[in-house]
């Protein structure tokens, strides 16, 4: 798949050699989680469980537990998004890719439990899961790339938990409108913040496809906020999107 995942671990003081070893072990565990997710869910590998499900070589009854878990989360996300996120409406068979990257990154973050850690952040190609603080109890500050100039920052967010951003400029993946079956280009990008990256990932995809009407299904979700950067560069958002205060 070629996705690069970066993991930053923060400690509140210099770590001892033993503590570093502990974090290294947890890094190994995190990598195994990401590796396993790739093996199971890669639609590019014909032998993966998801590919075999899509080709009907196996049925839902035969899939590994993780696939059943992810599909059930996809069903929840489909319902919460009013059908704007719908892995079952994708060409080629059920495709949970819009949720899996975030789901896997959130699980990788959970590997980092060492007591010396004050905060940790897992960044899966722009989908980010975090806990704790980079230092002094302050929240993480995360930039959102400008969809019209991706090396520039459009906004800065004060992050508690996760943020996912979806945009029509993603490589090789047109955002398909489940209602029409055709690519949708209604926004520059859509970002969703909230406690769980898997759900945020799915909801960001849904809002990117739906455009401004998508804000209406994010608003009622406790803990989740959304920001749209429009094709014209304009902003629209839910009421409490966590912009960072100017420094």
């Amino acid at each position: 798949m070629g996705t690069i995942v970066t993991i930053d671990v923060y400690t509140s003081r210099d770590a001892t050699a033993a503590e570093i070893d502990q974090v290294r072990c947890q890094l190994t565990a995190a990598r195994a989680i990401l590796q396993r997710a790739d093996e199971v869910f890669s639609t590019w590998q014909p032998g993966s469980a998801i590919s075999r499900l899509r080709s009907r070589a196996i049925t839902v009854a035969d899939v590994p537990a993780e696939v059943a878990d992810v599909l059930s989360r996809c069903a929840v996300a489909r319902e919460l998004s009013g059908g704007w996120f719908d892995p079952w409406a994708m060409p080629g068979g059920v495709d949970p890719t819009g949720l899996v990257k975030g789901w896997a990154a959130q699980r990788a973050l959970a590997a980092f439990t060492a007591p010396c850690i004050s905060g940790a952040i897992v960044n899966a190609a722009g989908d980010i899961a975090s806990y704790g603080s980079p230092g002094r109890g302050e929240p993480f500050r995360v930039g959102i790339a400008d969809p019209s100039a991706p090396r520039r920052l459009a906004e800065i967010v004060s992050l508690t938990g996760a943020i996912a951003t979806s945009g029509s400029y993603e490589r090789g993946r047109h955002l398909i409108d489940p209602h029409s079956g055709r690519p949708a280009v209604r926004v520059g990008s859509a970002s969703v913040t909230g406690p769980d990256l898997g759900l945020a990932d799915a909801l960001a995809t849904a809002v990117a496809v739906a455009g401004e009407p998508g804000l209406a299904f994010i608003g009622p979700l406790d803990g989740y906020e959304a920001l749209i950067i429009g094709l014209d560069g304009g902003r629209s958002r839910t009421a409490h999107f966590p912009f960072s205060a100017p420094q």
Binding site: G2, I4, V5, T165, R171, S189
Partner: protein, 169 residues
Amino acid sequence: MKRAPIVISATVAGLAGVLAFHTTPAAISPGALPAADGGQPAAPASRAAPSGHRSSSGRPAGAASPASRAAGTSGETRSAVGSGVDYSYGVISVKVTVSGTRILDVGIASIDDGGNPHSESIDQQAVPVLEQEAMQAQSANIQAVSGASYTSAGFTQSLQSALHRLGLQ
């Protein structure tokens, strides 16, 4: 532009777990460069503390210690270029520069695209995820960037090859 220390892990074909810690004050600022003679990085210039916050520990900014020192690895700066790998529009090779186990810089060493016009968009989006590190270094006190990013399997494979040549994978 020097990037903040990062950990790299890959969902495909295991890149080395290059591990770096950040300790407060925040990570290395753009102005800090590794010593040319291969010694430890110069003490990073402290980022301005947010107003109203003063460090009660009194630790000087220069005392932030990269994990590479604690782990006893060399701080020597080394570079390698990975094998050319086919990507969508031609052949790409990636150059990586490290100090000990810490990645300092990643860039495209060469693209041979046969003049394909699509490669211009590759160039603009090149080094995509890790460019985010450069963006972080440019901006005041952010730790990550969110945004749909282009990631090429060819880029990742060549990066992996370069790290292998440095003995880091």
